[in-house]
Each structure stands twice: as structure tokens, then as C-alpha cells.
Amino acid sequence: MNGLLGFYEGGKSFLHGRNPTLKLVSLMVPMLAVTLAFDPWTPVLFFGLALLVLCVLGRVPLRHVARPLALVFMLSALGLLVSNAFFYDPQEGTSVTVLWEGGPLRLTLEGLRVGFALTMRTMAIVTLSLLFVATTDPTDFVLSLIQHAHFPFRLGYGILVAYRFLPMWRSELDLIRSAHRIRGVGERTSLRGRWEQLRRYAVPLLAGAIRKAERVSIAMDSKAFGALPKRTYYRRLDLTRADWAMLAVSALVTLFILLILANAGLLVGYGVVPGD
């Protein structure tokens, strides 16, 4: 467990140094732009740009993200591209270009295009998320939400504690599984068996978790957590000019790309349903 979902890459870079809350907002702008577009060009451009930013401004080596990205690509290509390419159902009256036909299957150019657009949309959104996840220390993220987004600090620290305990629960679960295995409990496949197994794993896991949670909460109270109306912060995640600049540049670049695509007549979506 390296970080959120195991993708956090420690290090120093322009992106690592940015305020997490503003980073999140800055990334939501292009994400929104990609979500609203239906043409294949918008996601391709944003995907390429996000990858470039990740490597240059985030200093995340390409090979670290290549595997998860390839996996996402294959999955969505298999699901979205293939199904759309073969089963594209055009509205009545529109003509389609059939590239290949065999039995019930019909490969169409239009279907291929829609499938490709959807696949690239997934890729662009995943890469944009990766931009955030790979360059943001989860503790900083929660602290920044508390300090800048009025996130309640009690809840915030609760999340941090839970996050700290995740790897422990994982190894605990592994232990319980081998302990049960040598008692002769086989891994079940039937629905009833699975339910039974879930209960068997959950009871010791929960018993341990509740005990630990109680202890941690007493330890936190003993350090006067929440005793004073105001607390100070050692990690101060100030909003700098660079942070605001990042937001501004993000918005401008997004707008710029959309304008260029619109001018070239390639932009579809934004109120215009494809095929209309």
C-alpha cells in the first residue's frame, strides 16, 4: 500500500508541491470537458496532454503508469470498442458504412468511431485521475480539505486513522485465511458457503478492529484531540500563487483546446447529440 489505491508516488515535482484541493479543482475542469464531449478527438487530445503533464510536471516515470493504463485500455477497448463496433445501432434514416459483415455481426465505421471515442474518454479520465492520485500525499489531501474546503476535522482525522489501519487489516485477513485453512476450512464456492466464509472472516477481523479503534480513540483523546475549539496545523498547506496559476492555466488550456476543435468542426457533444 503506497498511497491511495497504491498509486501515490512520493517525490518532488511541480505537481507534488501544489495544494491538493486546488489541484483537484484544476483537474475537474478538463475532466468535465472530456465528459461532455462525444467526438474521439477531445479525449485523445486530453489523454495525450494529461500523460505529458504527468511525466513532465509530475515527474512520474511512464513505466510506472504504463501497466495500469494498458490494463484499463484493454478492458475498456474490449467492452466499449468491440461492442460498439459490431453492435452499433444507428438512428433510422442515417446510413452506415459497413466494413465487414458475417452472420449477425456487422462491423461499421460509425460504430468503430463511437467505440473509440468512449474508450478514449475512459482513458482520458483515468489518466487525469492518476495525475491527482500519483502526485498527492493522502494525508496532505485530507489536511487540505480540512484547511481549505471546510471539511470537518473530526471526520477528516477519522479517515486518516482508517487509512493508516488499511494495510494492517490486509495482513490480518491473510493471517486469518491461513489460520482457517489449516483448521480444515476450505475456500467455498457455493453462495451459502461464501456467506458462511464471509462471516467467519469478518468476526475476528471486526473484533480486532473494534478493539484497536477503541484504543486509538482513547489515545487520541489523551492527546486532547478536539478538546479546544481551535487547533493549529504543523503541515500548513498554504494556497500559493503557483496554485492559483495552475487553476487558471488549466481552465485556459481546456478552453483553448475546445475552441480549436470547434473551429475545425471536430467537436461533437455539448448539447449536440451525435447522429442528430
Binding site: 493522502p138 494525508t139 487509512y163 493508516r164 473484533a207 484497536k212 489515545a219 492527546k223 493549529t232 504543523y234
Partner: protein
């Protein structure tokens, strides 16, 4: 004026009939170090929770009486002011931190007190330097060892500059080397900050008794049983302490037993050096022939070996080797300990004995058969493996079903199941609890149940991972006696441990593992005679062995006396009729 004054304090937890503390009064002067001593259930931890104001604010309990801090009524102080005065360190190193890195964790306690940002950096460095963690400031908390975590907990408390430190069994979950390190640190702290007042709860007193100014003795039910200097308390209340199951420092226990045997021990010693000078004049002989042991020749006849490991090397996928070319023989019917520092591969090695990890062909043999050729069912019929946390192994919702489980999956007859379960319930003292949920049992009962379940199908080899870890001494001892019973019935018992007292008291043979290699395998006596090896393996000699070296006492063959009973002949006393060779007869070493 005393710093802490407690008047007539009584506490009762909800839904319990008995009070946790009853009419407790005492007062502590600034700069004193107090030891709170008493059996489990005598309200020691409750006292700490009251002092810190966690009762009644965080932990629901009814409290009567008065606590004065520096002359002010604590009940009238705000929670903030009050917790600022008291730094707490708790027992469980895994459950007292809430942040990811060392620095953040120390800062957390300061942020809550709204210490200005500018001041925090300096305070953090200072506190980490005191506990020797300055280098690890940016380390993640979960990468620290148990001992380092407890030192971090101390740093968190110190950074807040409290007037009082309350340490609730800070070393109960640590290995012996880390425990000693922690108390060395506490000693240094006491010298450097003489105004700091310390209240400490501990069970094993050997490394800490010289730090203590006063002892508060609590009896079961939370009443004060006595108060005074450690010398006075251990000397005058030695018998009662013994009866309550409280462990005296080993040299004190020796003095106590010698006095009971009629020797004129003027004052019970607390420390090894004291004991050496106090007992020197009473010594009759420095060297003795070791009383007859069963010759080792018998063991050859008992082949095949219960467990035989032949050139086993193992590494978890993607990480360095954990075990290097291990070869080891565990004779049938032996009491065998595997010891070594944390991370030396003890558990990994033992995991290969019970199919938790599967060894390659030709590396591990159970009663002569290659384990790689056996099914999990066949392995678990021969070997019972008891995990460190008994709860991990429970699969049923009732004690008797738990015991029957392994038999049911093997489709044994109802009559046989009934008979075996009844017999196990009786011999493990669980008859009264047969309908209860395993998770609702006490810690000692859980442990007994987990051992019993591992014997249900008639296993002849029992492997236990840290069976006494984090337990109080009474529970630990009861368990060890039960294991001795099994040993007498011919079961091979293998124990992974770093409790050297347990090894000295009960184990016949020991293997020492350092960095995944076997550094020693042989008799327990031979291990304790080899000081260089003990140090290399960061194990530690026991105080009685230190005393023997100090006084020049040993057997003619170079071995040291292993238990108090062994010491008797050196003072010209009879040992009694118990033959020396029966390992389990050594259990009076306390």
C-alpha cells in the same frame, strides 16, 4: 504541596457489579517516580484514565472522590488544560497513533493544544532527540519496530511538556532487548528532567526497579493494599505479592525463597549487584557437580525426529531471503524453543511445519515423511499450529462446536466427537464455558481453547507462535504448565518465543535464529552458558544468570544454575526430591 492528591477515589464501570477502584487515596510529590503494582483487575489503568480526565469524558464510568492537580480540583479544569498536564503512553504499539509519519504524529498532540506553528518544529526535534528517533523524523510510523513505536509514543507525550507522565505497561508487548532500552531511556529522562513526575504500570520489574521511588500496591477490587519505597514494599509484602501472582524481581524472589528456607537474609535485594553482596556471605560453595540428568543417549532411540528440516532456504516473492540453508532436528517428545530477535525468521520457519507455507520437496519431514508429499489434511492431523492471536483460528460460535469442528470436517462418528470434546473441555478447564462464544472468553481461556482445538484430532506435534506474548504472567504460566502436561504425555511441543524466562524455566532444547540462519541448536543450559552468543542474538541473560556470573557460581561443567531450585545446593540447602532432569519440574523459578 503534593503535585497529585487523590482523595477517596471510587470508580464503577457501567453494567458491572464490582467497583474498579474503591476509596483510593494517595499523594505524589513533584519529581517522584511511582510504580503502580497489582494483579489484573486491580484498577491500575483505570487510575490513569481518571488522572487524565478520560474518565468520565471519553470512557463512560461513574466516578466519585476528588483529584487535585497542583492544588486545583481537576474536575473544575477544562479537558484541554488537564490533558496538557499529563502525557500518556499505552500498552499497544499498534493502536496509539493516528498519523502516517513520525513527525506528523508528534505534531498531532501539539496541534490539539493549539501550539503556534512557529514553536512546533523545535519541540518536535527536541522530543525526538530525547528518545533517539531524531534520524527517523520523516519515517512512516508503520515502518518502526515495536520498541521504536513505544519510544515515539513517549516522544509524543514529552513534546507536550507535561508535568506528569503516565505509562500504562509501555513494554508489555516488546521483546526483552527493546524493553531494556525503554527503561534505560526512562532512567536518562529522570536524570535530565528531575521535575518530571512519572507513574508507571509494569509487571516485569527486573529492569526498572532502580528507577522507582515509591510503590503503590493495589489489591483485586481496586483497594489500596500498601504504599512505600520499593525496598520496604517488596520486603514486607513479599508473601502477599507472591500470593497475588505478582512477579518479584528474580533476585528478590531468590532472596525471598532463601529466607523462607531458613537462611538469615537480612534485607531482600532488588538488584543483581545488591544481591551479590547480600548473599555472598551465605554462599557455601561456588562450584558444584551438576546433579544427575537423564543422559542424552535416550534421544537417539526415539527416532524418527518429530520435525526434521534439511537445508531449507526461503524468501517471500519479490523480497530478500528470509531463511538461509536451515537444517534442524526437533526430537520426538521434546520441549523445543525457537528464539531470536524480531525479524529473524522464526515464524516463517515454523510456518513450514504446519503447511501455512509449503516447503519444496525433500526439505521438511514430519515424523519421517516428506511434508511436500502430504495433503493439508494429513499435515494438520500430525501438527497443531497455534497462531499468536487465538481469535484468528476461531471458526464456530460456541466453544464445544469449535472443538468439534476439525472432527466434523473429517466425518468422525458422533460418539467419538462427543467423547473427544468432553475430554478436551475437562482437561483444558473449559467445561463451564462450553456454550459460550469463543470471542467472549477471557484472554487466558481463548488461548487454552486455541490450544485444545489443535489437539482434537490427536496431533502429536504442537507448534505455538509466541504463546505468552502480551499476556500477564499468571496466564502465561498456567498455559506453560498445561504444555508441560502435554509434554509428559509424549507430545512434541515447539514454542516460538522471545521470552527468555520461559525458555529458562520450561524448555529442554533451543534453536537460536539470527538473520535467517541457525546460530545455535542445543540444550537450554548450554545456551545460557554462552554469553557471547546471547549478546549476538540480542537475547539477554536473565538476572539470575547475571548474578551467578557476578558471584562466580556455576556447576562444575560450566553451566549456570537455571532456576531458584538450582541455587539451593550452593547455599547448602536441600533441593527437594524433584529430579533435575524433568524439565517441567523447573517451573518454580519465579
Amino acid at each position: 504541596m503534593p503535585l497529585i492528591e487523590i482523595h477517596d477515589l471510587s470508580v464503577r464501570y457501567p453494567r458491572t457489579a464490582q467497583k474498579a477502584l474503591e476509596h483510593v487515596s494517595f499523594s505524589v510529590e513533584q519529581g517522584e517516580t511511582w510504580l503502580l503494582l497489582g494483579p489484573s483487575g486491580s484498577g491500575k489503568s483505570t487510575l490513569g484514565l481518571c488522572l487524565a480526565g478520560l474518565i468520565p469524558h471519553s470512557v463512560p464510568a461513574a466516578m466519585e472522590g476528588q483529584i487535585l492537580l497542583d492544588g486545583r480540583d481537576a474536575a473544575e479544569m477544562s479537558v484541554g488544560t488537564r490533558t496538557a498536564q499529563i502525557g500518556m503512553v499505552f500498552q499497544d504499539p499498534e493502536a496509539q497513533f493516528c498519523m502516517l509519519t513520525v513527525e506528523d504524529e508528534v505534531a498531532f498532540g501539539l496541534e490539539n493544544l493549539a501550539i503556534p506553528y512557529e514553536e512546533m518544529g523545535g519541540r518536535i526535534s527536541e522530543a525526538l532527540a530525547i528518545v533517539g528517533l531524531g534520524e527517523r523524523r520523516h519515517e512512516r510510523v508503520d515502518r518502526l519496530s515495536g520498541g521504536q513505536k513505544q519510544r515515539l509514543a513517549l516522544a509524543c507525550a514529552l513534546a507536550r511538556r507535561p508535568a506528569i507522565l503516565f505509562l500504562d505497561e509501555p513494554t508489555a508487548n516488546l521483546d526483552p532487548a527493546s524493553r531494556r532500552e525503554f527503561f534505560r531511556l526512562l532512567g536518562k529522562l529522570r536524570e535530565e528532567q528531575p521535575s518530571l513526575t512519572i507513574l508507571l504500570i509494569e509487571h516485569i520489574l527486573d529492569d526498572l526497579i532502580d528507577l522507582i521511588d515509591r510503590v503503590l500496591l493495589l489489591a483485586p477490587g481496586g483497594t489500596v493494599f500498601g504504599e512505600g519505597t520499593p525496598g520496604d514494599m517488596l520486603d514486607s509484602r513479599g508473601d502477599e505479592l507472591d500470593r497475588m501472582g505478582i512477579w518479584l524481581p528474580q533476585v528478590t524472589a531468590l532472596g525471598h525463597k532463601l529466607r523462607a528456607a531458613g537462611l538469615p537474609v537480612a534485607r531482600l535485594p532488588l538488584m543483581v549487584e545488591e544481591a551479590a553482596s547480600a548473599l555472598e556471605s551465605l554462599l557455601v560453595q561456588h562450584t558444584l557437580a551438576r546433579p544427575g540428568t537423564i543422559p542424552d543417549t535416550g534421544q537417539e532411540a526415539r527416532t524418527p525426529m518429530a520435525i526434521r528440516v534439511d537445508d531449507l532456504t526461503f524468501g517471500y516473492r519479490g523480497s530478500a531471503e528470509v531463511l538461509h540453508k536451515i537444517s534442524l532436528d526437533v526430537p520426538s517428545g521434546s520441549l523445543f524453543a525457537i528464539v531470536g530477535p524480531n525479524g529473524s525468521g522464526k515464524t516463517t520457519l515454523a510456518s513450514h511445519f504446519a503447511d501455512v507455507l509449503r516447503p519444496p520437496v525433500g526439505r521438511v519431514f514430519l515424523l519421517g515423511d516428506d511434508i511436500a508429499g502430504l495433503t493439508t489434511g494429513q499435515v494438520t492431523e500430525r501438527v497443531g499450529y497455534v497462531f499468536q492471536n487465538p481469535e484468528h483460528q476461531f471458526v464456530e460460535q460456541q466453544v464445544d462446536d469449535e472443538l468439534a469442528y476439525s472432527l466434523r470436517v473429517r466425518h468422525r462418528s458422533a460418539a467419538e466427537i462427543e467423547a473427544t470434546v468432553g475430554q478436551l473441555l475437562r482437561s483444558f478447564g473449559l467445561e463451564a464455558h462450553r456454550r459460550r462464544n469463543p470471542f467472549a472468553l477471557s484472554q487466558g481461556q481463548k488461548r487454552r481453547l486455541s490450544v485444545a482445538t489443535m489437539l482434537a484430532v490427536g496431533q502429536r506435534i504442537l507448534v505455538l507462535d509466541e504463546p505468552t506474548f502480551g499476556q500477564d504472567r499468571d496466564t502465561a504460566r498456567a498455559l506453560m504448565e498445561r504444555l508441560c502436561g502435554l509434554h509428559r504425555e509424549g507430545v512434541t511441543v515447539v514454542v516460538i518465543t522471545h521470552d527468555m524466562q520461559l525458555v529458562a524455566d520450561y524448555m529442554e532444547q533451543v534453536a537460536v535464529l539470527v538473520d535467517g540462519r541457525i546460530r545455535f541448536a542445543g540444550s537450554t543450559q548450554a545456551l545460557f552458558a554462552d554469553q557471547a552468543l546471547l549478546q549476538e542474538a540480542s537475547l539477554r541473560a536473565l538476572p539470575l544468570h547475571d548474578l551467578a556470573r557476578e558471584m562466580g557460581v556455576r556447576f562444575a561443567d560450566g553451566f549456570l544454575p537455571m532456576s531458584i531450585r538450582d541455587w539451593f545446593p550452593f547455599f547448602g540447602l536441600e533441593t527437594g526430591s524433584t529430579p533435575r532432569s524433568a524439565a517441567c519440574a523447573r517451573e518454580d523459578a519465579s
